[in-house]
Symmetry: C2
Subunit: 345 residues, 2 copies
Amino acid sequence: MPSDPLNVAVMGATGAVGGVMLQILEERDFPIASLKLLASSRSAGKTIAFKGEPHAVEELTEDSFEGIDLVLSSAGGSISKRFLPAAVKAGAVCIDNTSAFRMDDQVPLVVPEVNPHAAFNHKGIVANPNCSTIQMVAALKPLHDAARVKRVVVSTFQGVSGAGTQASEEAKEQIREALDGKEPSLRGKFVRPIAFNCIPQISHSVGSNPFGLDGYTDEETKMTRETVKIMEDENVKVTATTVRVPVLVGHSESINVETEKPLTAEQARELLERAPGVTVMDDPAKNRYPTAIDAAGRDDVFVGRIREDASADNCLNMWVVADNLRKGAALNAVQIAELLFTGSK
Amino acid sequence: MPSDPLNVAVMGATGAVGGVMLQILEERDFPIASLKLLASSRSAGKTIAFKGEPHAVEELTEDSFEGIDLVLSSAGGSISKRFLPAAVKAGAVCIDNTSAFRMDDQVPLVVPEVNPHAAFNHKGIVANPNCSTIQMVAALKPLHDAARVKRVVVSTFQGVSGAGTQASEEAKEQIREALDGKEPSLRGKFVRPIAFNCIPQISHSVGSNPFGLDGYTDEETKMTRETVKIMEDENVKVTATTVRVPVLVGHSESINVETEKPLTAEQARELLERAPGVTVMDDPAKNRYPTAIDAAGRDDVFVGRIREDASADNCLNMWVVADNLRKGAALNAVQIAELLFTGSK
């Protein structure tokens, strides 16, 4: 059931995710009647090409949403909180890539391959999960359906583009400095040097204390809570350690998963091979396993190094990689829009 | 009980670990009567300074060990297998940094802070554990003594210097190429590009299949087996995912540990603060946690982000970082020599 073309607004059009959002809308030939690019007053007036046509970036205000059918928002949590209610009031459906509404009971949190039904239960806003959560649940769901996931111990290796375009630039600058034998200088996007380093702290608010009383960062807590909401099963327990690594695009995850029923590595591989949106790359003898640079620019969630864990019953290890800007953000948001408006996923 | 100065031979003196070995012998004023630097015929004739004096590198042969009291070996497993029997026959005690003899029942595998007594039970060879294992067991031992470690799920973030000097150079070259917008070229030290990437395969033999039938790499299996041998408790189960990251020096480890008796994060912190060779850096609200570049050039094993894991009973997460060339290799070897010869550790 193809939909009539939609009037689409992209909030945060000049950001890292916004740019990929436009690419993906173009690639997938999303049915667009009109496209409005919204950003802060700082970016207003810039021009961005879409399908070969220049589009002027407009300043985002409460009045930006008249006649808009669909808002794709990735301008930061406080911006979403401030402006999405106006968009909903104006009659738009908002797909929000920030954490602002994710844990709101009134807002579905959706990965189309995992809980597509939830999307339709919206009251104007559908939340796009955290990048690290999306790729993890895409790989967990087939195992959960077959054998019930009980517990997940996950450590992440997250690329710097997850912190935005400026973070990627700062990372490259720091690495250039380090290669030249200089001390890498902190320019505001990292709390510690990222050049030739791994930082076990991911938070989008540099400066304030991003650690909870339990010692977990907001990124880690998101993985725990969002997984339960998306999988719709509070018996799925997740403990996470989220780490920023000097990679540009692509998040890798080392996942140890305990299931209620036993699963061999071979069974898990077969389940994942049949799963939508998942590509199994798992033949280590031929050096075949996914890495961040393999996943960059690709749509699927890649899974490899699937192996039984002899340290406990019913446990498997696996290595899950995806493009954090695509499946981890923009693509998943566009897939939700397709689910709601074009009947495909 | 200070020992008489020893006749010391360093095998692999021109390698990454060999260089740090010499630094550490100098820093710690190890009692040396004579120093013999041994390497392959390719490096023979080079000159290396030790305590300000030039020392010529000699070609390693079966006849290199006459009159030698102590051999510090880090020239690769096959070299150790071939030459250490001759060194033992000549009356030397060999501390071997390769994996050649680690799992040999006749050879103690020692981390001086963990199982110092084992060192004295040698028959000429004492093995130095794998870098990733050393820092992990240093952090686990105090918890084991207090609460019995049952199971460990570990993911590593390992610096490229663990693969040798050439690997560090290749990593830097690859990163320079990537920064210049070129495809990073593989020069033989990595099976996949390491520039802006994480490779979930660590093995010292590029080319051959380093994966076991169970799907684990030799590095991962080492962490499982060596931990049991060093902790002298086969009830300690370890499952590992070992990953090479674009870091020069320093290995970081995300460790989830299950104990028989409950331990709060606070109790674990206190135990680790009292532990020899361990420094707790754990005040996340002040951005205080260890990273690879903090640990580089330092002797201790650094532990931070100690927190209770709500996903299972009696589990904690922690982040453990050390200099892989120092505590992970050369320093631990020199500490074993001190234990055996100078009565200190």
